[in-house]
Amino acid sequence: MIPALVVFAYLGVVLYIGIFAFRRYEQRDAEGYFLAGRSLGPAVFLLSLFGTNMTAFTILGSAGHAFGNGIVTYGLMASSSALIIPVTLLLIGTRMWALGQRHGFITPVQMFRDRWECGHIGTVIFALQAVLLVPYIIIAVMGGGATLEAVSGGAVPYWFGGAVVAIVVMSYVLFGGMRGTAWVNAFQTVLFLSFGAAVLILIGSSIGGYPQAIESLLGTDATSSLLTRQRVSPRYFFSYTFIPLSTIVFPHIMIFCLTARRMRQFKKTVIFYPICILAIWLPCVFLGVVANTMHDVPGIAAKLDARALLATGDPSITAAQASALQQAAAGDDVIILMLEHYAPVWVAGILGAGIMAAVMASDSQILALSTMFTQDVFAHYGGKTRFGERAQVQTGRLFVVFIATVAYLIALRAPPGIFNLAVQYAFSGYSALFPLLIGALFWKGSTKWGALAVTLWTAASITAIAVFQAVLSPPLPGQAVPYWTVGGVDVITRTAGGTDVLGFLPVVPMTIISALLLVVVSLVTPKPRTATLEKYFPTQSAS
């Protein structure tokens, strides 16, 4: 119970930070509440932007993925992000910031509407962005409930843990707005950046050093492949470089780019972002791999047994049994199991708070949804003119309560697998929307019809993949079922993890087709007025 008490104390600190931000700064206008008055300093901007982008998956999921797939997890998800996210922040984030300063935009859809002179097409983009964001919020509530239940050894039930997390997040977002959220995120980032190194040292000393563990993994064929990338194909590995394109398209990241006081605040963020990724991902991935040697931890031993049974390929195993075994072998809680086994209880509590910090990253998504609703729907369709700016901020606050409540109710009833899957679709969806940003910011010739084509294509392709994967049940791990073959080449394949298109993840064709659609449709449709284009692409320098 001690770890759970430490986590509760941590939640109290987080709540205090959010409410302190509310009392310290008056936030009656929309820019004050939704963008912290565009006044965040360099340290808070860096830590908070990084923290906003790190979710429950970063600590729990990365270790779990590495537990099953090996060191490839780092290359798949971390080092590609280390290159692509800072480059997009430099190229796109700074440009968004400058446009926000010059034209007062608060959300990306406001910029799209102005840039392409459209109203309802902006609403379609808003709707898709909002739908793709919701699963993250639900996942965070679920992660909070599950983490509290795990660190308390079952003393805090899932429903209560989820409720506590939902109420804490809702409260500091409700009161503190963007400033409270940014401060809490900065605090959380410091906590979980320290988490990685602390756990690595603690567990390393408990198991008698890592060289021995790695030697033991090298000893058998079944585990030595975890130290290479044999388990994935080069095409699959390459596909993952498209996923970080989604980051800058996430509404909460784009909105966050508008909060910097000066453009130079991006400088440290761009430089240190890769180092922050290294500090958090490397220990988690490494520990996830090393967990494969921990037969003395009962929970992990059970997972290894389930995996070994699956690997036998015994034909008498039914589909339902295989699915149950896959669930039993999943490693999302290996870090928690290691901590329970190797760390003293009070250390486990502090480290549990570090996990909680990552799990609770839904705050910025809740605030982003509220900001988008009040700006892109309420204000756009006349609410601000009719009821005033104060009412707009109050509507935003009410929306925060509404989203947190709905997310909690769904988290209580839905099986977790559904939303994990939805989050996977969301990454692909946001990556496929990436050409929208490039078109809006860098190509004069892009049009609203091109933007609409990209948005509809993204929605249609995600729906098609979801239906395809729901209709065709997955084969056993390591197997693939070709669904559409042309001239001996497998075009669409159902795999254990999802779907392949010519060996690539669907995100690759989705993003490429999006870009082509934007170009082709824009070329044959009318451009915005010259005056509008001049706002975005001035012909002469202001200096």
């Binding site: 060191i71 080092s79 280390a82 290159l83 700074t94 440009r95 300063q101 090298l218 130290l227 290479t228």
Partner: protein
Amino acid sequence: MRWWLALTVVALYGLHQDVWFWNSAEPLVLGFLPIGLFYHLLYTVVVAGLMALLVRYAWPNRLEREAETAVSRLADTKSSSREVR
């Protein structure tokens, strides 16, 4: 962006696909880091160095000047309208 920096970004994107260490775990760097993982660790550090170069040589100065001029103009307008009132 200077052409050599753009080229370096593209080259690093290519170097992410390190097929040469695909099937080998050894040598183990420091006795416990598989070579494939060490490569990507080093890759991340090199990327941070590249980001420092990008910030130094490809920073959008004009965009920054324009935005900050617009902001100070807006602030001046607000303060003068307050004075009129």
